[in-house]
Amino acid sequence: MGSSGTYSEQELITALKAREDQAFSYLYDHYSGSLFSIILQIVKSQEIANDVLQEVFVNIWRKMESYDPSRGRLFTWMLNISRNASIDMLRSKSYLNSQKNQEINDNVYRSDQVTQPDIDSIGLTKFLGKLKPEQRVLIELAYMKGYTHEEIAQIEDIPLGTVKTRIRNALLQLRVYLK
């Protein structure tokens, strides 16, 4: 750790690969909020997002040795682990069952609405909201729900080439908003 109490990217990676407790605490303190936001935006439940975040940190711990900095930054790697774990959760039986139960509860009373944070105004969704609706729909399907371009072409009934072009254009537009 540097004298200012922060790590450079390289120092952090070296410390994590050496499994230093302090480095994992730093990782949690600095990145778990960001990772939690993306998980919550995909699974849309605080309780399930907590479970997925735990799983993500265990996965980070387990996979750290195989992390290759030449393929991308640590944050990108962790963000993709978080997204993949969240999408796996969306497709799990337990999630699908919990959604059914939720629908039943929602039909009886909607008490949970009050305590739900406004997840559309934070993290990546804050920027996705600025996209044109037709672009946002495609990014939601691809990024938040994990559909392949082929599946999206079927769902939206548009040619595969168009899906690909629109998604790439949407990502380029998203980048403008990130600035």
């Binding site: 050496a18 499994r19 230093e20 407790d21 994992f24 605490s25 949690y28 303190d29 600095h30 778990s32 909020g33 960001s34 939690f36 936001s37 605080q46 997002a49 907590n50 479970d51 975040l53 735990q54 799983e55 940190f57 265990v58 711990w61 387990r62 393929r71 991308g72 930054r73 944050f75 990108t76 963000l79 993709n80 997204r83 993949n84 934070i122 993290g123 990546l124 804050k126 920027f127 691809a142 990024y143 392949t148 371009h149 998604i167 790439r168 254009n169 990502l171 380029l172 998203l174 980048r175 990130l178 600035k179």
Partner: protein, 84 residues
């Protein structure tokens, strides 16, 4: 397609965000190995994405930071304890 057109095609953003298909990803990694401009473009977008999150100061979920993770001794733990 020349290098600049490739960099500006949306492949950088697509790869970083995990939306490139396997063939595109392999090709992109090959291009990163071969051209420092592609690597630089990837790194620039990665930094931008990271900053967009970090600048929002999103708080860690309190319950977790007080519970499970503080109890872990990463170095001593061969396998993380079971999640509960």
């Amino acid at each position: 397609m020349n290098l600049q057109d490739y960099i500006l095609s949306g492949i950088v953003e697509s790869y970083v965000m995990g939306l490139a298909n396997p063939e595109e990803s392999i090709e992109f990694e090959r291009m990163c190995d071969a051209h420092s401009e592609v690597r630089a473009a990837r790194n620039a977008f990665e930094l931008q994405l990271e900053q967009a999150f970090i600048q929002q100061n999103l708080e860690p979920p309190v319950l977790l930071s007080q519970g499970y993770f503080l109890k872990l001794k990463w170095k001593e733990t061969k396998n993380p304890p079971a999640l509960n």
